[in-house]
C-alpha cells in the first residue's frame, strides 16, 4: 500500500486536504521519513535532507516549480520527480503586471506628491502598445504572454527550442539549438537580438547550468534605457554587479527582483540600496496548498494506475 510522506511547513493543511479526498489505497500519511514511505509531497529543501532515508522511494511531487535542490548530481535519481506547474502562472501574472503598472502609473511618485499636498498631474505611461520579452516560455511564460496580449502588448519570447505558446508574437532562440549539447543560453547573438528594443524584460528561467548569469552586461547594454527588468525565475540568471552598474548608470530604468543569488539577501548586499531596484523577497508565487493538492491528487491517480505522471522533471535538462 502507498505511504505518503509530507515535508512542508504547511504539512497539516496538506494532510487535511488529502485526507478529505479519500484517495484509493492511501491509508498512511506521515510527516517523518520512514523506510516504507514510497511517495513524498513537499518542499525541495526539506526533501533533500530526507532522500537518504527513503529506501522505497518511487515518486516525489514538489510544491514548487524550482527543483534545484534535488538536481545535484551527487543525489539519487532513482525515482520519478514531478514539480508544480500550471499553478503559478496566474500568481506570476498578477505580480509581473502589477509591478509593470506600478512603474507606468508612477504610483510611488504620485504617493510622494500626495504626501507633499501637491496636485501634480504628471503623465502616466501605458502598457498598451509596449513590447515585453519573456526569457523562458514554459507554463508561467505562456501565462504571462496571455496577460500581455490582454493588455494590448507585443510579446517576444526567448527559449532554447520550444514554441509552445501561440500568444508569443516572435520567438528567438540560441544559435545552436542542439538539445544534446545544452549550450549556455547566452552563447549566441539571438539573445541580443531578442533584448534590443524591449520595453520590459521578464526572466522566468529555472536554475540550471545553462542559465547562469544570462542577464549580463551584454544583455543589459542591449536593452533601451526606458526598459524595466523583472526577475521571477531564479537569482543565478543575473550577473548581480552588472545589474547594479546598469541601474546606477541609468542604462535601464528600473528592476524588480523577487529572487536573488543568496536568499535571504545579505544585509550588506548593494541591491538593498541600488537606485530604482525593488526587492520582494521571493513572494511572487507562494504555493497555495489547495492548488498543489489538486495537482497531487491528479498525479496520485495516474501513479497508482501505472500511467505517466504530469510535469515530470528531466534530471539532465534540469526542468
Amino acid at each position: 500500500m502507498p505511504k505518503l510522506l509530507i515535508l512542508s511547513s504547511d504539512a497539516d493543511e496538506y494532510r487535511k486536504l488529502i485526507e478529505q479526498a479519500n484517495l484509493p489505497g492511501l491509508d498512511e500519511i506521515t510527516s517523518h521519513p520512514t523506510n516504507d514511505c514510497d511517495i513524498v509531497l513537499g518542499e525541495t529543501k526539506l526533501i533533500q535532507d530526507a532522500l537518504p532515508h527513503l529506501p522505497n522511494l518511487k515518486w516525489i511531487q514538489t510544491t514548487s516549480a524550482g527543483v534545484e535542490h534535488l538536481l545535484d548530481p551527487a543525489l539519487r535519481r532513482d525515482y520519478t520527480l514531478t514539480n508544480a506547474r500550471g499553478v503559478f502562472g496566474e500568481l506570476m501574472s498578477e505580480y509581473v503586471f502589477g509591478y509593470l503598472l506600478l512603474h507606468e502609473k508612477k504610483m510611488f511618485e504620485r504617493y510622494r506628491a500626495q504626501q507633499s499636498i501637491k496636485w501634480d498631474r504628471f503623465e502616466s505611461g501605458v502598457l498598451h502598445g509596449k513590447t515585453i520579452g519573456l526569457l523562458g516560455v514554459g507554463s508561467i511564460g505562456a501565462h504571462l504572454a496571455g496577460t500581455a496580449k490582454h493588455f494590448g502588448m507585443t510579446v517576444h519570447g526567448f527559449t532554447r527550442e520550444s514554441e509552445t505558446s501561440t500568444q508569443v508574437d516572435r520567438y528567438y532562440h540560441p544559435a545552436s539549438t542542439a538539445v544534446a549539447t545544452l549550450p549556455p543560453l547566452s552563447a549566441n547573438d539571438g539573445l541580443i537580438a531578442f533584448a534590443t528594443g524591449l520595453d520590459y524584460l521578464v526572466c522566468v528561467l529555472p536554475r540550471t547550468e545553462g542559465t547562469n548569469k544570462i542577464v549580463d552586461t551584454n544583455l543589459l547594454d542591449a536593452l533601451p534605457s526606458r526598459s524595466v527588468f523583472i526577475n521571477v525565475g531564479r537569482g543565478n540568471a543575473v550577473d548581480e554587479s552588472a545589474l547594479v552598474n546598469a541601474l546606477t548608470k541609468g542604462k535601464i530604468a528600473a528592476a524588480v527582483l523577487d529572487v536573488t543569488e543568496q536568499e535571504p539577501l545579505p544585509e550588506d548586499h548593494p541591491f538593498w540600496t541600488t537606485p530604482n531596484l525593488l526587492l520582494t523577497f521571493h513572494t511572487s508565487a507562494i504555493s497555495y496548498p489547495e492548488s498543489i493538492t489538486e495537482l497531487f491528487i491528479e498525479n496520485y491517480r495516474l501513479h497508482i494506475e501505472g500511467k505517466p505522471l504530469k510535469y515530470q522533471v528531466d534530471f539532465e535538462r534540469g526542468y
Copy 2:
C-alpha cells in the same frame, strides 16, 4: 463647406493629425470661434465658453467621456453632442487593476521593508477568485469586466437598466427602472445587495443628478472591511465625509480616488491625509489625440453623409 473649430490644449497635435487624414470637404480648421464654425472638437470647459459665439453650430465632439460642462440646462442644446467612448477602457483597466495589484501585493509595505533592510516575506493577496463590483457598466465598465475575468474574478455590475456586457456575472438594478422618472440610483435596496460581499468596488459613473453621493454611509457600511474602493468616474458620486469616516474607522481597507468633488483638491481637504487613501489627481485616462482623432474621423464621415453619429449624448439622461 464644414469648418472645424479645435479647442484643446493639444490643438496643434489634433490639427496635424486631422490634416493628415485629408477629410473630404474639410478645408478650414481654426482655433478661434467664428460665425461660420459648424463643427467643434475639444475639451468641454473650453467649448462651454465658446457656445454663445457659434451661431452655425451643428456638432460637437468632445475629447473626454465626461461632458457635464455642456449639460447645464441654461446652455443651448440645439446641436448633436458626441463624447469620447471606447478609447478609455484600456487606460482605465490599466489604472484600476494596477492599483488593485498595488494593494494585494502590498507594494508599499514591501518597499518599506526594503528601506529597513528587512527580508520580510509577509504574504501577498490575490485578485484570482475575488469579486469586483462595477458601479456603472458602460463602455469603460465593460472593459474593466473583461480584465477582471482575465484575472479569474467574479464581476457584479450595478446599472440603471442596461446589461450590455456579457462578462458581468450578475447585474443589480435600482428597484424602479422606469427611465422616464430617472430616480436617484441610490434610492433603493438593490445597491446594498450589490455592495454586500464585494472585495473591490469601482465607480465609473458620470456626473449626473442621479449619481450624487451614491457612495454614502449606507453603501460603505455594506462593504466588507477588507474591501477597496476606487473612483475613476466623477467626484460627485462620493459623500466625501462618509468616505473619510469609513477609512478612519477601518470600515473599508483602502480607497483610490482619481476624481474628487473639487479639482484641484483644496490644500486643507482631509483626503490628503486620510489613512489608506491614495489620490492620483485625475490622471487615470488622459486623452490621447491619436485615439480621439480616430473617433473624430469616423464621426466626421458619418456627419457629412447625414448618418447618425457614434456615441451621442442624451442631454436629459446626462450621458
